[in-house]
């Protein structure tokens, strides 16, 4: 782990390493996370709470799936697509995973270019992330339509345990909502970057606070979290 960022010019006392640094950070009447702009730990704490929510959903899905005496529908068959006359299992899900990982990549690049104050590149990378996110939601909506058309309801489905539908719609519904909200905020941040609001520290519309390029990184944290949740959903719901 590298040394924490030193932003002041005054010489400071030598800082302890390792676990002692955690103790010293939380000790005494002082800000806990030195030299970390406040927006970052705030977003992280929100993401921890969101982790608990998705964790509750996934763990209840596990409990429900373990306890059903009726066999659980086979995800490979349920989520397969007919391509060129052959049944390709999980094809749409694989594409959705690649789309979301790509969006995480463009987001990480956007944060980097944001700190270089390269407004044009940052703007286009943010827009690319938003477009990929919207594509993901579109594919998820297609998935929902297909399954509803085939008879999946929250209370029953043609293939197996009745709890499959409610688990699927709840988990993917919450995730898709998070992605959609993320897309909206990505566009908002992209517009602020394009107009130069972050360079000139113009107060924002929503809260009236002045922005700087840290908000691109904060947005990035949220977006990577959305990808992170998908990694878990993909593993536990579709693959298992």
């Amino acid at each position: 782990m590298t040394q924490p960022a030193i932003t002041g010019h005054a010489t400071s006392l030598p800082q302890p390493e390792g676990l002692r640094s955690i103790v010293s950070d939380f000790s005494s009447d002082q800000r806990a996370f030195k030299n970390v702009p406040w927006g970052k730990p705030m977003m992280w704490i929100f993401l921890v709470s969101d982790t608990f929510i998705f964790g509750s959903f996934l763990i209840s899905y596990m409990t429900v799936r373990m306890s059903t005496t009726v066999p659980w529908p086979n995800p490979s068959q349920v989520f397969s697509l007919q391509m060129f006359g052959k049944d390709v299992p999980l094809l749409l899900i694989a594409i959705m995973t690649f789309v979301l990982i790509s969006s995480s990549g463009t987001m990480a690049l956007a944060v980097n270019y944001g700190y270089r104050r390269d407004r044009k590149t940052t703007f286009w990378l943010l827009i690319a992330t938003a477009v990929l996110g919207a594509t993901f939601v579109g594919m998820q909506a297609f998935e929902w339509t297909k399954l509803i058309h085939e008879g999946v309801r929250p209370w029953s489905n043609p293939w197996g345990a009745a709890q499959f539908g409610s688990s699927f719609f709840m988990i993917t519904g919450f995730h898709g909502t998070h992605v959609s909200i993320g897309v909206i905020f990505l566009v908002i941040v992209a517009v602020k970057v394009w107009r130069g609001d972050l360079d000139h520290q113009r107060p924002g519309f929503l809260t009236g606070r002045r922005g700087n390029y840290e908000i691109v990184e904060t947005m990035g944290l949220y977006w990577h979290f959305v990808d992170l949740v998908w990694v878990f959903i993909f593993a536990f719901f579709y693959l298992w």
């Binding site: 950070d25 982790t51 999980l90 990577h224």
Partner: protein
């Protein structure tokens, strides 16, 4: 704004706004995530079963999650206090997972005992008098 210290092995370029890293690392991790996703997909495509399937699914999942948190979300370069404050609480969810597993098993066994289909000759369940 670069501080040269006897503690630094390689001076990190530090700005007041945030630490920056060469772009290459993001592309490398991006590629690694693609490889891990393909590997996860292969687990299903080649119909691995049982313990091998589940352990591979979980391993690839944890690797992908770890890379996203550490590199894309920058945690690798954050203060240790922030890292622990964020990573430890979700680990406590493992307790809920254990409770859920116990509950699920119990419900499964109870359903098997009391809701056996009528077709099978049910062993006489002693009714409390």
């Amino acid at each position: 704004m670069t501080q040269h210290d006897s503690h630094h092995t390689a001076p990190a370029v530090v700005h007041a706004q945030g630490q920056q890293h060469p772009l290459g690392i993001y592309f490398k991790i991006w590629g690694l995530l693609f490889v891990l996703s393909i590997a996860s997909y292969m687990v299903d495509y080649f119909h691995f079963q049982g313990l091998l399937r589940w352990s591979l699914i979980i391993t690839f999942m944890l690797l992908k999650a770890g890379l996203i948190v550490a590199v894309f979300m920058h945690m690798l370069w954050e203060r240790l206090a922030l890292l622990y404050a964020i990573v430890v609480p979700p680990l406590l969810l493992l307790v809920l997972l254990g409770i859920g597993a116990l509950e699920g098993d119990y419900t499964f066994l109870t359903r098997g005992q009391f809701f056996t289909p009528a077709a099978t000759p049910a062993p006489a369940v002693a009714k409390p008098q």
